[in-house]
């Protein structure tokens, strides 16, 4: 595309600092390019892959829910902030799904998709509902802005606590993914916390909506602390983080924010095995997947 416009842009670029980089940073290409993806000694590859799917699906599904706010956000500043969060989580999902692919946990998805599409896309677009292992917390409908902020607060506090410890994982790939994710998740958690404060301690109406959001969301927190068998094995091997160790920290964060927001902290629900982690999802999940996957599945032989 040579010609007039190209020259003009070069001149503009040089005149104004010549950063020459994509506005939001890079990261649009192969997420694990140049990274040694060998599975660490003594670690079962399918366990590691299954764990990456858990963390990856949590990010992918939450990213999808946040993306629903594009063109519907309360203000332009929130458009940018929400898209930022969604983009960060999408980046984390890509890294984790790619890692799962290198561990070979592709199953039926690999044969459903053309051989030339990357593992991350085979997994994202060609798995069935029962193969997704995200928590219900990230898949439920976004609701109003209060519900979205309460959910984002809970999900990012939990994920941040996991990732902070995951930086010490014996799997260097997970450690690297976690290290990159910690500043991102800190930002998400703090963004959501600022909003929960303002909505809880804002107007009567915003307070009412936030109370409703907390009440609706609270039972889903029961799914977070209990480790699956995979997580227990991997935690013992120094690879994964047992979610029960972060439970106290997450409770502290949520209590602190809610109290400061003049909200009552409901009693903590009794932990239970996460149905989402077992592939059992809420009724709305089918529709989420249909939207996410529909176009790609119409063209299974296509590269995009």
């Amino acid at each position: 595309m040579a010609g007039h416009e190209e020259t003009v842009y070069d001149a503009l670029d040089q005149a104004h600092g010549g950063e020459g980089q994509w506005a939001f940073g890079t990261g649009f290409d192969d997420p694990l390019a140049g990274v040694d993806t060998a599975v660490p000694d003594g670690v079962d590859a399918s366990d590691l892959g299954a764990y990456c799917l858990m963390l990856g699906d949590d990010a992918l599904v939450l990213s999808q829910r946040l993306t629903e706010w594009v063109t519907r956000a309360p203000e332009l500043e929130e458009e940018v902030a929400l898209a930022n969060c969604a983009l960060d989580l999408l980046g984390q999902a890509r890294l984790l799904l790619a890692r799962a692919g290198t561990c070979g946990v592709l199953g039926r998805s690999r044969s459903a998709a053309t051989g030339s599409i990357p593992d991350e896309d085979a997994l994202a677009y060609f798995r069935e509902s029962e193969e997704f292992v995200n928590h219900h917390l990230v898949e439920v409908d976004g609701g109003d802005f209060a519900a979205t902020m309460v959910r984002l607060l809970a999900a990012s506090a939990y994920r941040l606590a996991l990732f902070a410890r995951l930086r010490d994982s014996r799997d260097p790939v997970l450690a690297a993914i976690a290290a990159k994710g910690v500043p991102e998740l800190t930002y998400h958690r703090d963004y959501a916390a600022r909003w929960v404060l303002r909505l809880g301690d804002g107007t009567t109406e915003s307070h009412r909506r936030t109370v409703e959001a907390v009440d609706a969301l609270w039972p889903l927190l029961a799914d977070l602390p209990a480790a699956t068998a995979v997580e227990a094995r991997l935690a013992a091997a120094g690879i994964a983080v047992d979610p029960c160790v972060v439970d106290g920290e997450v409770r502290d964060v949520l209590s602190t924010v809610l109290e400061q927001a003049t909200l009552e902290v409901p009693p903590w629900p009794t932990p239970r095995p996460s149905p989402g982690r077992a592939g059992s999802h809420t009724p709305g999940f089918d529709e989420l997947l249909a939207t996410l996957q529909g176009l790609a599945r119409e063209h299974p032989a296509a590269t995009w």
């Binding site: 940073g25 500043e77 902030a81």
Partner: protein, 125 residues
């Protein structure tokens, strides 16, 4: 028909509607409740020495303003220093001020800002 269009608007071909004053002032007595005030944003890049004015945004308070500025004006680049200031807190002057009618209130950052509560009785305002 073609008199109905202009090529304005960046993406071109904007229809010309009935002639209505565009965005002149806010509502009398200030913006409606819930409208967030205007903040000016200054950014200092990693290797720079000075903060540079990059634009403005709306936020309900200082804390939200500085974080919004990070999102919008630095795209979350680490190591960038940001200042946000309420536009109404800025006192300004220009090097070649040539307009004597402007001099008495010559400390506003914009010539025609909407965020000043000007009584209706002041002439030429």
């Amino acid at each position: 028909m073609s008199a109905d269009l202009t090529a304005e608007g960046g993406h071109g071909a904007v229809p010309i509607g009935p002639s209505i004053p565009s965005g002149l002032g806010g509502s009398p007595g200030g913006p409606p409740p819930g409208r967030w005030p205007l903040y000016e944003v200054f950014v200092r890049g990693k290797r720079g020495l000075n903060h540079v004015h990059v634009g403005s945004l709306h936020a309900p308070d200082d804390e939200m303003a500085v974080h919004a500025a990070r999102d919008v004006y630095t795209r979350r680049n680490e190591g960038v220093s940001i200042w946000v200031v309420l536009a109404s807190d800025i006192t300004a002057s220009s090097p070649d001020e040539k307009d004597p009618m402007f001099a008495p209130s010559g400390d506003k950052v914009y010539r025609h800002p909407t965020f000043y509560d000007i009584p209706d009785t002041v002439p030429h305002m």
